[in-house]
């Protein structure tokens, strides 16, 4: 091996050549390798690559940990440090009050968390055809250009999470899984510029597509539908927009949002409306990932009356007929 490296085809020692140009080669590699990675990862793909999975595994725990430390620190400041001046004035009583206030603060936080979780449970009970796993939001967007949150699945041993699975809460649709690695996943929100959901407006018989706008400080989406002359009722503000289930990602009947304004922008045969998401995306804490959904059972049709019974009451057979 050493002699092969020492005697290159040109006669110059290959090793000396590499050493002489190592700076240029390494710089070239540092510039070219990211371009190759971007070319591969920039294509439309449905699966998380090995590198993405590794990066998600490395970065998600640190986000989770720093978030926990930060919340603990803020609780300490709110519950104890800010009360020291009061404790000086009345040491014994305020020390007792400090402990009680801390417990009250924790209780309020637990009660709020319980309220949210209870609503999620009620949602799960009302939608038994959906098989869901709960997940906790550990990181909101770290980029100004993509509407994505990172979640951690709270249930141990859950397998089978896949890219493209729907993510919902009791309020409605949150988005879909984009990248998955172990118990961590990135969720592309319904307001992301890349999001597309097949939808309908409740009670109006209108079908279309909800598209994210990726807006920075306002969450909006566009509802594009064909202008149908036979539509009787116009689309109005506050009309609810629901999933149809035709995209085979989101179960039908889930609320995506509501129409912000009856004013629309016409583009060819399509009309675009602005929507407000049903879920408060900026303060998302817990979500449900839809693992699978079953079609609801249809009620059995009633059996028809027998031919003999129908003949018995046939008017043609009455004495007057």
């Amino acid at each position: 091996m050493r002699s092969w490296l020492a005697d290159g085809p040109t006669g110059y020692p290959l090793r000396d050549l590499l050493l002489r140009y190592r700076r240029t080669l390494l710089l070239g590699l540092a510039l070219a390798l990211p371009l190759a990675l971007m070319y591969y990862h920039g294509k439309v793909r449905t699966q998380t690559s090995l590198l993405e999975s590794m990066l998600l595994t490395i970065t998600a725990p640190i986000q989770d940990a720093t978030g926990s430390v930060l919340r603990g620190g803020l609780n300490l400041v709110d519950g104890y440090i800010l009360l020291t001046s009061v404790r000086h004035r009345n040491r014994e009583l305020m020390a007792e009050n400090q402990v009680l206030l801390g417990e009250a603060l924790r209780s309020r936080q637990l009660a709020e968390e319980l309220r949210r979780v209870k609503k999620l449970c009620e949602f799960r009970e009302s939608r038994k055809q959906l098989v869901t796993v709960p997940a906790r939001v550990i990181g909101h967007e770290v980029s100004q250009f993509y509407r994505v949150v990172r979640v951690h699945v709270d249930v141990a041993g859950v397998t089978g999470l896949r890219e493209g699975m729907a993510v919902v809460t009791h309020n409605g649709v949150v988005g879909r899984l984009e990248k998955v690695s172990g118990g961590y996943a990135d969720v592309m929100l319904v307001t992301d510029d890349r999001s597309r959901i097949h939808a309908t407006i409740a009670g109006k018989g209108v079908v279309g597509s909800v598209r994210g706008q990726g807006k920075r400080n306002e969450f909006g989406a566009r509802f594009v539908h064909l202008d149908r002359a036979e539509r009787r009722e116009p689309i109005a503000a506050d009309d609810a927009v629901l999933t149809t289930g035709h995209d085979r990602v989101f179960p039908p009947g889930l609320e995506i949002g509501h129409v912000s304004s009856a004013r629309s922008t016409q583009k060819g045969a399509y009309h675009e409306f602005t929507l407000t998401p049903a879920v408060p995306l900026a303060t998302l804490e817990e979500v449900l990932i839809v693992i699978e959904h079953h079609a609801p059972k249809r009620p059995r049709p009633k059996p028809q009356a027998s031919r003999a019974r129908r003949l018995r009451i046939d008017p043609a057979n009455t004495p007057d007929g």
């Binding site: 390798l33 990675l37 986000q63 720093t66 909101h140 770290v142 100004q144 993509y146 510029d193």
Partner: protein
Amino acid sequence: MKHFSWLLVTFVLLGLGSPLLGTFEMQMYVPDVLVLSAVYIAVRGDLLPGVMTIFVAGLLKDGFVLASPVGLFAEIGVLSLLGARVFLRRVDLRSMVPLMATAAAASMVATGMFWLLATVFDRDFGGSDQVLSTFLPLALATMLAAPVQFAILDRVSGLFGPRERSGMLLR
């Protein structure tokens, strides 16, 4: 070892950015930690170890922002470092104001590079409006965060050798 410590500091700051600013509802004003580290390493670090450090830091930032293609921030980091090395050899920063102005300029250039690379390589990218609207706020946030981050990196550098007398990139 000092390059590894700078990498570690950058990683922690990247991890802290989202939950910290999310708590105060300032997610849109995350300073560009990667670009600030690239500027600092361009001045204080060696070329090859510095490039490798910022390359790995860029990959880690790609891990925090997996919505963008992996490799995008690694490329921006390396280009920022090389550009900063070329520029700062010709400019002698003697006070805080030029330093912060350099950080703001580097952030704006990095945002431009993000837009260009995302437009070319990300098939789903449609956020040109967002890039334009956050161009200046991002540069402002980065400019204000520059003294803090440089001070942290200086302090960490001091653990591995004698600190520069002037400190914080001042020459």
